[in-house]
């Protein structure tokens, strides 16, 4: 019987020795910091509630400064349509140039393409547009202040990046996803019927 209990007691002794590498006071301080940090990690993605709003208010400086304020909503709640931006640049000499963002032919490697893709996906993001109602026609939706800031900034960048450009018109394109019966019926993933376009506005030089 004594021989059976020996391994357990020697394991306890070993663990005790291991923990004692740090003094109780040091462990207590680190434990408090750990608890505070772990609560922040939980609060960051917590869905909205009175409690989470309160805790988010308390933790806001830490969450923002440490870049922990995320929802981790990967392809959630549902994988949705893609959003692209089509732009038309007008130059002083009368030329017109059209482009699409993102553009697989221009944006390489894949990570750079994805960065451009995220810029366009951000515009209808629920985080920026809590009042955005996908059921309404796009023309009836109003862009929030952050959405307008993004759109104006993209327009200004396009004008600056294209020497001689005087004006740019932006369109947000929603690319609906084909469902399996549609694909089995012969529809391609880039079928024109899957695209919806909403004008974002026309902008002249120096809109910042």
């Amino acid at each position: 019987m004594g021989a059976q209990t020996k391994p357990a007691s020697s394991r306890s002794a070993r663990q005790l020795a291991a923990w004692h590498r740090w003094s109780p006071a040091r462990r207590a301080v680190v434990s408090a910091l750990l608890a505070a940090h772990l609560l922040a990690v939980l609060v960051g993605p917590w869905s909205r509630s009175i409690l989470s709003d309160f805790l988010r208010g308390v933790y806001r400086p830490y969450l923002q400064a440490a870049y922990l304020d995320h929802g981790y909503k990967f392809f959630a709640p549902d994988p949705g349509p893609s959003h692209l931006i089509r732009y038309e640049l007008e130059f002083g000499d009368g030329r017109r140039v059209e482009g699409m963002m993102p553009d697989r032919r221009k944006h390489w490697p894949r990570l750079l393409y994805h960065r451009h893709f995220m810029l366009t996906e951000t515009i209808p993001s629920p985080l920026l547009s809590p009042a955005w109602n996908p059921e309404l026609p796009w023309e009836e939706q109003t862009l929030s202040v952050p959405q307008q800031a993004y759109v104006r900034s993209y327009a200004a960048h396009l004008i600056e990046a294209h020497h001689g450009a005087e004006r740019v018109t932006l369109h947000l394109i929603e690319h609906r996803l084909a469902n399996p019966p549609e694909v089995l019926g012969g529809m391609e993933l880039d079928d024109p019927s899957l695209y919806l376009t909403r004008p974002l506005g026309s902008f002249t030089r120096s809109p910042r």
Binding site: Q15, A76, H114, S153, A156, H157
Partner: protein, 342 residues
């Protein structure tokens, strides 16, 4: 009443011991060092790609101008604590200098040169980048910064590093594996817990949808032309397969935070992550995101297994160092005397 008191005392003692055991047991820094190499490489690549269009993303006339970034990051009350060193950078020379300095930092982190200081600077640099361009970020950046944050805590340069080679050179002989350290355990434990939180909330968010329940979500993920790198539309003929992949993914994410802890099933849970994340990587063109999630999952690989798999010369020499098969930490007790052979 006495029973209740006894129960409460036992419970609090068990909780205290469990907490101490979980967080404060010294661990071999091998796992942390491997994460440093992989995360450092990912940080280096992620930021190297910015070089191709640096001024378009970080210059004064960038896609997201400083004014637009400030508008987006600001709280409704006008405050905000998101910061970036790019706010004070003016002009292309300063921009390129800061960028090259950051690339050097990430390379040093990957190689393990001045690891303790460099890990702190690398984290600060990574946060500075992500806050400068809100809108161009995605899951990759969240995991990159999370890993960089925890690499600051432990001795990530204690193995597989130039720091280690340098120390051996100064000593004039090869060194045994680094001593187990509480801070190494803390860093790895924090990554583990954070990965559990990420998977749990990722699954919770999916539960708010319809297609993850109905079993169609994977179809809509792979049928997205803008993400697609491999044509998976043949899946349309296999609705049962779509539903199976969808719901296995959902329930794997949901249960990860529980099932990854029992040692017997941990390898199975981690192995499940390989097809999930490589599927995202190769079917949806998010190779960096798929890989960085797997780097986070490396935190669950015990250090003795890491050493066995990598088998660096220094390990063979110190193979005699006995390791705890459960926690991977070298035992702190003296080896039992050998039994005389009969």
């Amino acid at each position: 009443m006495r029973l209740v008191k006894q129960y409460v005392l036992s419970l609090s003692a068990a909780a205290r011991d469990g907490w101490n055991h979980f967080w404060f047991t010294p661990a071999d820094p091998a796992t942390l060092a491997l994460i440093r190499v992989a995360a450092g490489a990912m940080l280096l690549y992620t930021h190297l790609v910015w070089t191709l269009d640096l001024e378009a993303f970080f210059g004064p006339h960038s896609w997201v101008s400083p004014a637009a970034a400030a508008t987006v990051l600001r709280d409704p009350d006008g405050g905000g604590y998101a910061w970036s060193h790019f706010w004070i950078i003016r002009g292309p020379f300063a921009l390129w200098t800061a960028h090259l300095a950051a690339l050097v930092l990430f390379a040093m982190l990957m190689l393990g040169l001045f690891s303790r200081v460099v890990s702190v600077l690398a984290y600060l640099a990574a946060v500075g980048y992500v806050n400068r361009i809100p809108g161009a970020q995605f899951g990759l950046d969240q995991i990159n910064v999370m890993l960089a944050m925890y690499l600051m805590i432990g001795p990530s340069g204690a193995a597989w590093s130039l720091d280690r080679l340098w120390a051996a050179r100064r000593a004039g002989h090869s060194l045994p594996p680094a001593q187990p350290a509480v801070s190494a355990n803390l860093a790895v434990r924090l990554i583990q817990v954070h990965m559990c939180v990420i998977y749990f909330y990722a699954a919770l968010a999916k539960l708010g949808g319809i297609t993850w329940f109905s079993g169609e979500a994977i179809w809509y993920a792979v049928a997205n032309l803008e993400y697609q790198t491999l044509d998976m539309t043949w899946l349309a003929r296999w609705p049962l397969l779509i539903a199976l992949i969808t719901q296995v993914t959902l329930y794997w994410e949901l249960s990860f935070c529980v099932l990854v802890w029992p040692r017997l099933i941990r390898p199975l849970v981690l192995l499940m992550g390989v097809p999930v994340h490589l599927g995202i990587a190769f079917c949806m063109g998010m190779i960096t995101f798929g890989l960085v999630m797997l780097i986070g999952c490396l935190s669950f690989v015990p250090p003795d297994l890491v050493r066995r798999l990598l088998r660096f010369p220094s390990d063979r020499k110190a193979g005699q160092a006995r390791t705890d098969p459960i926690h991977g930490a070298r035992r702190l007790v003296a080896a039992p005397p050998k039994q005389p052979s009969k």
